[in-house]
């Protein structure tokens, strides 16, 4: 067991898989010599060399196209899109090519690839380098969508993503890169589509993802001081979506609160809420509450960005609105 940062866990996870499987190759902008703009891939080039680690031109379509073509012909590429906002310049390759090709070809083409990306706000970078876009990915049939909240999950879910036979979008929350946590020694392989129940309490079910998980836990702590014990679930993956874990918890608590960093409209919490409303309505004892970033591009100023992103106060308030 070692303490590791979320950032270092990325490099650790990539190295674990590259060591295991020679068909895993790694490509992206500034990922090799520079170790990534977030320093999340430091050392990978030194360990595996230029026959497996590829610094690319600033060509997001060419990066993902190369990953796709290699995946359909026997490789298991891990590609990086530096900031998830940049998915907008290569969304064709993601949404039309990678996501649809297995289906269109009646299962002839298999695409075992991972696209990692730095996602979300909190860095005061302004609107074009800050959005949480996991809900874009969730809306596309054919993709799997993962967003870990801890260093241990980074390693285990990255391994699961690399070993998965489907294309996986792996969202690393930028605001978590500096956070630390225990990572067990030896090989770690997790499972996609399994939520984690991080805290048990009868009053409400709070479901969060990525950077919203520590905030939800902090909110739970504060509520506990008032005698309101809530359950906190880290969803970990949006596709597959672990409805069972959430529904089981809601059946006990009678309240659902989602905490989402993505802008409000069609955020993942909307889908989850609709499922629970449709299938578990009579388990609910109060309104489902969604705590989200408002439907705005993210502002740069720290005061404004902090006001936009869901924080502990808003989560606490959301729980109260549901339970009271």
């Amino acid at each position: 067991m070692a303490e590791m940062s979320y950032r270092d866990a990325v490099a650790h996870g990539i190295a674990q898989e590259m060591r295991r499987d020679p068909s895993v190759v790694f490509l992206g902008e500034d990922i090799g010599s520079a170790g990534g703009v977030f320093k999340a891939t430091v050392g990978v080039l030194d360990t595996f060399g230029r026959t497996r680690v590829f610094d690319t031109p600033i060509s997001e379509q060419a990066i993902l196209g190369a990953a796709m073509g290699a995946a359909m012909t026997g490789m298991r590429p891990v590609a990086e899109i530096m900031f998830s906002d940049f998915f907008a310049v290569c969304w064709d390759i993601v949404a039309n090519e990678i996501a649809k090709t297995r289906y269109m070809t009646n299962g002839q083409v298999t695409l075992p690839l991972v696209i990692r990306s730095g996602n979300g706000g909190g860095s005061r970078f302004g609107a074009q380098h800050s959005q949480s876009v996991e809900n874009w990915a969730m809306a596309v049939p054919g993709l799997k969508v993962v967003a870990p909240s801890t260093p241990k999950d980074v390693v285990g879910l990255l391994a699961a993503a690399v070993r998965d036979t489907d294309p996986v979008l792996f969202f690393e929350q930028k605001s978590l890169y500096a956070t630390k946590g225990e990572v067990p020694d030896g090989e770690i392989v997790d499972e996609l589509g399994k939520a984690s129940v991080l805290r048990q309490g009868p009053a409400a079910t709070v479901v969060a993802l990525a950077a919203m998980v520590p905030r939800a836990l902090a909110a739970a702590e504060r509520l506990a001081q008032e005698g309101i014990e809530v359950t906190v679930i880290d969803l970990r993956s949006l596709v597959p979506l672990d409805v069972t874990t959430v529904a089981t918890s809601v059946a006990r608590t009678g309240h659902l609160i989602t905490v989402e960093e993505n802008p409000r409209l069609c955020g993942w919490g909307a889908e989850l809420s609709s499922i629970i409303a449709e299938e578990n309505l009579f388990d609910l004892d109060g309104p489902i509450v969604r705590v989200t970033t408002p439907h705005v591009p993210l502002p740069a100023a720290d005061a404004l960005e902090d006001a936009a992103l869901p924080n502990v106060d808003r989560i606490v308030d959301g729980v109260r609105r549901s339970v009271l």
């Binding site: 026959t51 993902l64 190369a66 090709t101 269109m104």
Partner: protein, 338 residues
Amino acid sequence: MTDVMQPSVDAGPPALDVRLRLYQMMVEMRDFEKRAYDLFLQGLVKGTSHLGLGQEAVAAGFGAALAPSDYTFATYRGHNHTLARGVPMAPVMAELMARQLGLMAGKGGSMHLTSVAHRMMGSYAIVGAHLTIANGAAWSSKLRGAPEVTVCFFGDGTTNIGAFHEALNLAVVWNLPIVFVCENNRWMEYTPIGSVTAVPHPAADRAPAYGLPGIVVDGNDADATYAVAVAAFARARGGGGPSLVEAETYRHGGHSRADPGKYRPDEEVAAWLERDPLPLYRQRLLQAGVPEQALVSIEEASHRAIDEATELAKASPPPDLSLVEKDVYADGGAAWRR
């Protein structure tokens, strides 16, 4: 403007068996596309289809020069390229006709013909995207140390989208075993390429920007396309890197569906019909001493083959409705929740 390199065909014409094969491929493509058009007019081919009538010499020349383990990537105008890999006519026609027998059981349609078993790695309908994907296949061959090359076909209109430029640059930087083939049929959909492009040769004039020679070939001359293909594939296989070839050709019909292509000047259409690759090649083979009977039997066999393929496709039922939720994910299903 850059000097455009006309490839020399000094090596002389291809061997007779190759030439007969080229002729046979072109005849089969022609028969297939004419039938597809008829079936479209009869309402039996639904949705859309983009025919390669008139462009057969490009598909045949490059197709005949490929080794079985090489990869093909094509566009929605990909029927010819699919047949060129040896995919039988019946499943291709059945795919156009939305039948169970279809190459993808009707899930892809005319624009997405794919047969991985034949290394026909797909037909892609978002202009430009597949150039980047084709790079990936070529990159994979290189990573695996496999002596495979990738050929990627696209239209003239594709040279003005970003993916074209991203793909060419990366192919050169990574020295990939890939051959990009622009089928310059002079028209995008309904707009002439010359009216929206900064240079006269939309592909070849861009080649020097990526350190490649500008290669223009007569895309209606199967001997010429074959010779260029052999040279480009040899270069790629030998580690010499990518090539970009512009094949000048013309589509005989409209862009898609029942489009009669009336927006094109009559004289232009007439001039290109004069240069129809099939009669041109037939004449050349006769002049080279091939007995006419040999050509007639190729033609008759092809006519029989397309009739049989059509009947097989017509006899096939529509796809099983269970396919709607199959093969979204690798477990064979569409489940997104647990």
